[in-house]
């Protein structure tokens, strides 16, 4: 919602540009609407991408190392090799997403050029800019960004993100942070809904959110874009939990291909997201899945290794 400048106060006229931007945003946000109720899976090669597609993933996230390995290996994590991303694009017909570093528009330009369907400006990679995020309106390709709370979500949407995911703590196989961020986001929204207009102006300032977007969110009772969960989902029950908390869908990173039987687990998580309110289905698909990802207790994770705090 742009500010309503009085007519002809200046010679400036950007009605056409505004309309074009609105149309582009409809297409960006619309793809995310089509992904709702689905599972997006991290994959590191064409073979894994095929497994994900056969399991019923609605999209794959192409990356060189899953978050659990990024965590283990240490060092700087960057955009994946475009050659590897192209191999994944060639292997599947579902949308292919890929990650860029926070504040690295050049990595994003490269991904847009090779025809990636969605870009994740992700805290899982090492940030390239410790102040700024990418101006996502400047791209034709849509973006998904992470958040821990409402202020962070609305800053990303203001920058042009057409889809939001809660961050959780990627590569831990521990759902506690995903739950924390989902609860925080929804609590913030419920608080905003109870506020008078004068309180809302102050709340916008407190959480560092653009007022217009905050007002819109309070009116809708949800974020104004599709909102997925990410970071720590390892079982069908975890995925259904995030859906019951109010998420539109689920990203699963290390949880699938770091488990004993990826195909079986991936299928089970897909079923769990569709039938998240049906304990009978959840019980059936949770049976005999083999070993889950081992997982890490967040308490034992040094502050320097927490990905979720990256993003400003």
């Amino acid at each position: 919602m742009p500010f309503n400048t009085p007519a002809n106060l200046t010679a400036h006229d950007d009605a056409a540009a505004e309309q074009k931007r609105a149309q582009e945003f409809t297409l960006k946000a619309g793809l995310a609407q089509n992904l709702k109720g689905g599972v997006i899976m991290d994959v590191i090669n064409a073979e894994q991408a095929r497994i994900a597609e056969e399991a019923g993933a609605v999209a794959v996230m192409a990356l060189e190392r899953v978050p659990a390995d990024i965590r283990k290996d240490g060092g700087v994590a960057r955009m994946s090799d475009p050659k590897m991303i192209k191999e994944i694009q060639a292997a599947v017909t579902i949308p292919v997403m890929a990650k860029v570093r926070i504040g690295h528009p050049v990595e994003a330009q490269i991904l847009q050029h090779i025809g990636i369907d969605y870009i994740d400006e992700s805290e899982v990679l090492t940030p390239a800019d410790d102040v700024h995020h990418i101006d996502k309106h400047a791209f034709k390709v849509p973006y998904v960004c992470g958040c821990r709370n409402l202020g962070e979500a609305l800053r990303r949407i203001n920058e042009g993100a057409a889809m939001i995911r809660t961050k959780g703590e990627a590569g831990t196989g521990n759902v506690v942070e995903a739950v924390r961020h989902a609860r925080q986001l929804f609590q913030d929204i419920r608080r905003a809904q109870t506020m008078t207009p004068d309180e809302l102006y102050n709340f916008a300032k407190e959480i560092g959110a653009p007022y217009d977007l905050l007002k819109q969110t309070a009116k809708l009772g949800r974020l104004p874009v599709v909102t997925f969960s990410a970071g720590g989902v390892a079982t069908p029950a975890d995925a259904a939990l995030m859906m019951q908390l109010g998420m539109d869908g689920v990203f699963v990173g290390s949880g699938i291909f770091k488990s004993g039987d990826p195909m079986k687990r991936a299928k089970a998580i897909v079923q769990a997201v569709t039938h998240f309110n049906d304990p009978k289905v959840l019980a059936e698909v949770s049976e005999d899945l083999g070993e889950a990802m081992v997982g890490i207790n967040i308490d034992t994770l040094p502050e320097s290794q927490k990905f979720a705090k990256r993003g400003w």
Binding site: G30, Q33, G37, A57, T93, I94, G115, Y118, Q271
Partner: protein
Amino acid sequence: MTTPAPTSTTANNSTRPLRVGVLGLQGAYTEHLYMLQRLGQTVPVEACIVKTAAELDPAQIDALIIPGGESTAMALVAERSGCLDALREFVHKQPTWGTCAGMILLSTTATQTKQGGQNLLGALDITVQRNAFGKQTESFIAPLTIDGIAPADQPFEGIFIRAPIVEVAGPHVQVIGKVDGDHGLQHGERIVAVRQGHLLGTSFHPELTKDLRVHAYFVQMAREALGL
């Protein structure tokens, strides 16, 4: 509906609301639900989400909308949820509208599918090419003229997102809408809206607009097909 039922037990039951189920396995299904709820303020129609074989029962719902989403995922989930046969049976008899992925599922033949192909419901006699325009950066919006829905002076806002096209329409299929011009990999006229008796298919997403005309058309079409 708010309209009271006629007191007479005979004849006029034309105000019985049409009961439309929206297939809720995956995709933009709540969008269709909200559109039908808005339409319900002026037209006798009720809507609900259906996810199981038991809910795909003509005694409970008159008509079905299969939403946009990922057709591969939707077909796999339908199969594993044990509702593929119920879906097939339903769409062969009852009025059904598929948007984007939903049209792919309704079709008899689909190209550019995943390795090994995908399950289709085989009701709408068309050959559909998936992702015909290219990747997401080729997604576009174009004004459409649609027979019986949108005249040339009041075009429909066609939202095409990784959209399919109808490559071949069977002899009993009525082509009601085409898109023209250069869009990604496609150049010239391409079929994007079809009707075959009780079935409707659109490549684009009316549920992502605020324009109720296609939904109203489907409701009317379903009423006629069912003799309501």
